[in-house]
């Protein structure tokens, strides 16, 4: 939605790329726009749909629901117009002249070439075009070739569902009650097919027993070798949703291989779900799903790995968590762009450790699931990263806003309200008597003039509005039309053009929330609309003009921490021409990569030093200012004007506009657990890596080991302590185990769930198993025990598979330690910047999906492991994303300040500090106004305008501008101004 509204984004949908020429900074891309048969005049009223006689399957609802041949792909689609499905439309060629017929004939022939079943057009229909008020239907639209000159290209083609029909044993496509996870998702959506309830497709009854089968088509079994990353959490979430929505469902069983809750907060979510007993988790891969015709139920045959028990689980509904497969057209698209794809058909990245978003061709970037399955937070971070990288090729094109100042109109004096009521074609007028509404409004206090318009948002409507304002010297405007959420910006812009303060506009929603939803009760709807307008006018009378403020923006950034994330963020920003200062506490850059404790980076097995050298070269070339052995002593201020006190190599107060935190994370210290410290041959994974790099012997005081054991999740996923997953340890341990194995050491890995979710890691896992590395699953509630006297000799643990205690010899025990928030840095910066820290101790992002690298404090961004454990690839992607977000601020020389914020009346304020306590954005602060007298003050740069403090203030000293008590109360009162109808 935001993208659709952005002035600098042109959205071309229903189109395909046909060619690409040129090079980085100067590509020419040809695009074929396929006809939608609905023109730009479409106002999305939906009348055509009512009149269309033809029904087709609805792709968005996974075919679970029907749609007409003319339709809106989904409710939030951008652009908001309708499309005619030429394959379903009955009448595809009305009133044609000869030339057009020939053209269409040609096209039909062409279509039939691709699809022999392409239906001949036999009927003449055209109901939709008869129904359309704005004549938007255009059957004569033809595919159109356009060419675009662009500096860089971002590929974000996503994935498609693995076709579960391939796995015949599960019966998908054959048994109606076997559905895919996406189909279930559509059912669970409150605005979806079944209004949020699960049903069995065969009889639309609520299923009593539901079985989820995980990894369908993923991780090897008859499908694709990799892990799809999101399916585990999706199944857990769905099981909770089902339990909440449909108490009738008695049993939910999730059949899984490893529970891959690797993301931030994911493990906590699983724990909560287990506590809520939303599902039974059974570890095992089912052999088949069998349909029992006797009572129309399904039976899932599975071998429970716990004790090798053969089970037959009855089910009314089976949900297949299907893998993500590459998008069908991806390979073709890659060919056009001249970029490489990987063995699976996903777009390949040059080197994910160097840049998570670069393809094999310069200037072409990739993000999201186009490179392989991703979870949303990672997709969003990568998307921002691509944007940041892409900008490098757009230098000189950066958009600077140039607003021509308009003379503000004189709007003083008592309110003179103008009311404009919109017909919106028949959308409003079809239900409500618009003229009558206008006439009623004319009676209201302070209303000077009323008017009606066919389409108030059309350019003629807007012109008329401007004329009326001038003619009647209006100083308040009420527009009764559609929702302010989409159209307030449109009207505000118009008003701003003539110098009319946009905050003196009130929109009354008589379409979305009235005529559209009360069509069956027109009189009641009319009453409601009249009341809403009355309330709107009452509010408008109390509206105050607000001036948009601006604060200066220091167009430079500070990056704190010189690890891989910091290096990446600083490079990205500096290359774009922004002055960047990178401060590092120690005497060298590279963080963990330089320690040296990392040998080879999975999955490419490139030496860390090489990757780092590459990064440092880029950093050097970027022109960023690097300060080693420097600490940030203090930071004050807010977005646009932070001031950082630096001590060390320099001693200065540095003004910056944005701050990127990249201080990294610590490794967990096992303490005395697993007899670490007591036995010399129990080491951490970092120790081992260091020994590999330095070529040290692995005997640790004895002869070279013959056997080794890894213990995973040390310091991660602990009920008390860090409950999350550290993400990097599984692949790292496997990589290290393979190295030991290569040296002829028998290696066993004790794990809880193998979470090889990064690109190539699942394949590495298979390889390790193939080479003879032994993997032993530690069931919940058990811990491996180190056996030995003076030296570790063996590891003992209960084995679920064999249902007995198992002892494997181990001359070397490696503890795979998790990540911890880095201290004291985390506390230090938390205090100074006021950016929140989550329950796990890591910095908290503003929104896991919508704003994964931003904090609640504007202008403070997170890069790398400060936000939570991640591996190098994800850290690098996140760092680029943080740089992109910082560039958004730095691109302007001013920060625009929304004036609709809260303000304190210092006269009334008692200085209790309640507002300071509740505000998440740290906008209010107490200051001493007179000796011993305190009053709060709200910083407009930090306030987001939610108005919570205004409601909270015990003395009523805070006003939430644009939603003041007066305005809201006036609105309430006006409702009851008219007697009960």
């Amino acid at each position: 939605m935001d993208a659709g509204r952005h002035p600098l984004i042109e959205v071309i949908t229903n189109a395909e790329i046909t060619g690409c020429e040129g090079g980085p900074g100067d590509f020419t891309v040809t695009v074929r726009k396929n006809p939608r048969y609905v023109g730009d005049d479409c106002v999305a009223c939906g009348l055509c749909v009512d009149h269309c006689p033809q029904v087709g399957g609805n792709e968005f609802d996974m075919g679970l629901k029907a749609r007409k041949a003319i339709y809106r792909p989904f409710p939030q689609s951008v652009p908001a117009t309708y499309v005619i499905d030429s394959d379903a439309c009955l009448n595809f060629m009305p009133h044609l002249d000869e030339r057009q017929k020939r053209r269409l004939d040609k096209m039909a022939k062409f279509k039939r070439k691709i699809d022999p079943n392409y239906p001949p057009n036999i009927l003449v229909c055209g109901h939709c075009s008869d129904a359309c008020d704005v004549d938007a239907i255009d059957f004569d639209q033809m595919p159109e070739e356009i060419s675009l000159d662009v500096g860089s290209i971002l590929v974000a083609v996503g994935f498609q569902e693995f076709d579960a029909r391939v796995l015949g044993a599960y019966g998908y496509g054959r048994l109606p009650n076997v559905v895919t996870s996406l189909e279930l998702e559509r059912m669970l959506n409150a605005s979806g097919v079944t209004g949020g309830h699960v049903v069995r497709p065969s009889d639309l009854e609520t299923p009593k027993r539901i079985v989820f089968i995980q990894c369908v088509g993923a991780r090897g079994e008859g499908g694709r070798p990799y892990c799809s990353r999101f399916c585990c959490m999706n199944a857990v979430k769905d099981s909770m949703l089902i339990r909440q929505h449909d108490p009738v469902v008695e049993e939910i069983t999730i059949l899984y291989t490893d529970l891959r809750a690797f993301g931030k907060g994911f493990d906590d979510f699983v724990t909560r779900s287990k506590e809520a007993a939303s599902a039974e988790y059974v570890r095992g891969r089912p052999a088949k799903v069998w349909h029992d015709p006797a009572d129309d139920t399904l039976q899932v045959f599975v071998e429970d790995t716990r004790g090798h028990e053969q089970r037959r689980i009855p089910a009314d509904l089976v949900v297949l968590s299907v893998a993500a497969a590459p998008n069908e057209g991806a390979v073709e698209l890659a060919e056009i762009f001249g970029i490489e794809t990987d063995a699976h058909g996903f777009i390949a990245r040059r080197d994910p450790a160097v840049s998570a978003v670069e393809t094999s061709r310069e200037g072409v970037f990739v993000c999201g699931s186009a490179v392989g399955p991703q979870v949303i937070p990672d997709c969003v971070a990568q998307a921002s990263a691509t944007a940041s990288r892409a900008q490098l090729y757009l230098t000189g094109h950066r958009h600077e806003e140039k607003a021509e100042p308009v003379e503000p109109m004189d709007l003083s004096g008592p309110p003179r309200v103008g009311v404009m009521v919109c017909h919106c074609g028949v959308n409003i007028a079809g239900v409500l008597d618009v003229e009558q509404l206008a006439a009623d409004a004319a009676e209201l206090t302070d209303v000077v003039v009323t008017s009606t318009d066919l389409f108030a948002c059309s350019s003629t409507g807007q012109d008329e509005l401007m004329e009326t304002i001038k003619e009647h010297r209006l100083n308040r405007i009420v527009v009764a039309a559609c929702t302010p959420r989409t159209h307030e910006p449109v009207f505000r812009e118009t008003l701003a053009r003539i110098g009319f303060n946009p905050f003196l506009l009130e929109m009354v929603n008589i379409r979305d929330q009235c005529s559209w939803v009360h069509a069956g009760t027109p009189e009641a709807a009319q009453n409601k609309a009249r009341a809403l307008i009355r309330m709107g006018v009452a509010r408008a009378r109390h509206l105050e003009p607000l001036q948009e403020g601006a604060a200066a923006m220091t167009r430079s950034a500070l990056v704190i921490g010189g690890g891989i994330a910091g290096i990446q963020a600083a490079t990205d920003l500096a290359v774009q021409g922004f002055p960047v200062t990178l401060v590092e506490k120690s005497n060298r850059l590279g963080g963990r990569l330089a320690e040296p404790n990392l040998m080879l980076l999975y999955p490419t097995m490139r030496p860390a030093s090489e990757v780092l050298a590459d990064k440092l070269r880029r950093l050097d070339a970027s022109g960023a200012r690097i300060l080693l052995e420097t600490e940030v002593e203090n930071i004050t201020g807010f977005v646009g004007s932070f001031e950082a006190t630096l001590k060390g190599a320099v001693d200065e107060v540095l003004p910056v506009g944005a701050v990127i935190l990249a201080v990294g994370a610590d490794l967990h210290d096992p303490g005395a657990a697993f007899r670490f410290g007591e036995l010399p041959n129990v080491v951490t994974s970092a120790d081992l890596e260091r020994r590999f790099v330095n070529g040290d012997d692995l005997g640790l005081g004895a002869e070279a080991p013959k056997s080794a054991a890894f213990v995973l999740c040390v310091g991660s996923r602990e009920p008390k302590g860090f409950t999350g997953c550290s993400r990097y340890c599984c692949p790292t341990a496997i990589k290290q185990a393979m190295e030991l194995n290569r040296r002829g050491i028998d290696t066993t890995v004790f794990y809880r769930d193998i979470r090889t979710i990064s690109t190539g890691a699942e394949e590495m896992y298979r390889e390790a198993r193939g080479r003879g590395v032994l993997f032993v699953r530690v069931p919940p509630g058990h811990t491996p025990e180190i056996v030995g006297n003076g030296r570790a000799e063996a590891v003992r643990c209960y084995d679920e598979l064999l249902d007995r205690r198992l002892e494997v010899p181990a001359d070397l025990v490696v503890l795979s330690v998790g990540m911890r928030p880095r201290q004291p840095e985390t506390d230090h910066f938390h205090e100074m910047l006021k950016a929140s820290v989550g329950l796990d101790g890591f910095f908290l992002e503003r929104h896991p999906e919508l704003a994964p690298v931003e904090t609640a404090v504007e202008g403070v961004l997170l890069a790398g492991t400060v936000q939570g454990p991640k591996d190098i690839v994800d850290s690098v992607a996140q760092a680029s994303a943080a740089a992109a977000k910082a560039a958004v601020f730095l691109a302007h020389d001013q920060v625009r300040l929304d004036p609709a914020v809260a303000v304190v009346d210092p006269e009334i304020c008692r200085g209790c500090g309640d507002c300071v306590e509740i505000c998440q954005f740290h906008a209010p602060a107490l200051s001493e106004t007179a000796p011993g007298v305190f009053a709060a003050e709200i910083n407009a740069s930090l306030c987001k305008g939610c108005g919570t403090c205004a409601s909270w203030c015990p003395s009523g000293a805070i006003a939430a501008r644009h939603f003041t008590d007066r305005q809201v109360l006036a609105q309430i009162d006006a409702f009851f101004d008219e007697a009960r109808p």
Binding site: V517, R530, T948, I972, F975, F976, A979
Partner: protein, 182 residues
């Protein structure tokens, strides 16, 4: 102004008090107001006796607003916002819960039935749920009858015999979700 709309046929049959409640709905801009818009886009029909007041966040909905509505004669007040964890301003809705609890206490003290005040979380996607909540709440308030604070005319109307110009228009919730227009 002179028109009268009777409640849904269903209710006329089950409830002895025949009247249309006047309900104030407070909604936050980002979730519940958007949810009401979604109901519109999907043409999910619901009962029309409520009036919406939009604020930026449910945290803005202070006790005084609710009291004012009751004082003026509202038969019911619905406070709505984003689901937990979804608030556009992080924790505004948690503040809303606290304020709501206070409001509820006072409302009870005033002798107003608990059922006239409700708190609901509705997301931007939940158009169907919005309609459901409105229908349910309207029916609930209708069953309670006019608020003790409601103006005289409300009470007069209830006592007036049914019929007399009343037009039975159907405010049925689940009538044709897809069809707008006519």
């Amino acid at each position: 102004m002179t028109q009268q709309v009777s409640p849904s046929a269903k209710n006329a049959a089950t409830s002895p008090t025949v009247f249309d409640p006047r309900i104030v709905v407070f909604a936050c801009n980002w979730c519940s107001y958007a949810g009401a818009d979604t109901a519109g886009v999907s043409r999910i029909q619901h009962q029309p006796h409520f009036r919406m007041i939009r604020v930026m966040c449910s945290g803005r909905i202070q006790p005084a607003f609710v009291f004012r509505a009751f004082e003026k004669g509202a038969d019911g007040v619905l406070v709505s916002g984003c689901h937990f964890g979804d608030c556009h301003y992080i924790f505004g809705n948690e503040r809303a819960v606290e304020q709501f609890a206070k409001t509820m206490n006072v409302v009870k003290l005033l002798g107003i039935e608990e059922g006239r005040l409700r708190l609901e979380w509705i997301s931007a996607a939940e158009g169907g749920r919005f309609a459901e909540v409105i229908n349910e709440f309207t029916d609930q308030v209708r069953a309670l009858g006019p608020s003790p604070f409601a103006a005289e005319d409300a009470i007069a109307e209830i006592e007036a015999p049914e019929g007399g110009g009343c037009q039975h228009s159907d405010a049925d919730s689940d009538s044709d979700a897809g069809g707008g227009g006519h």
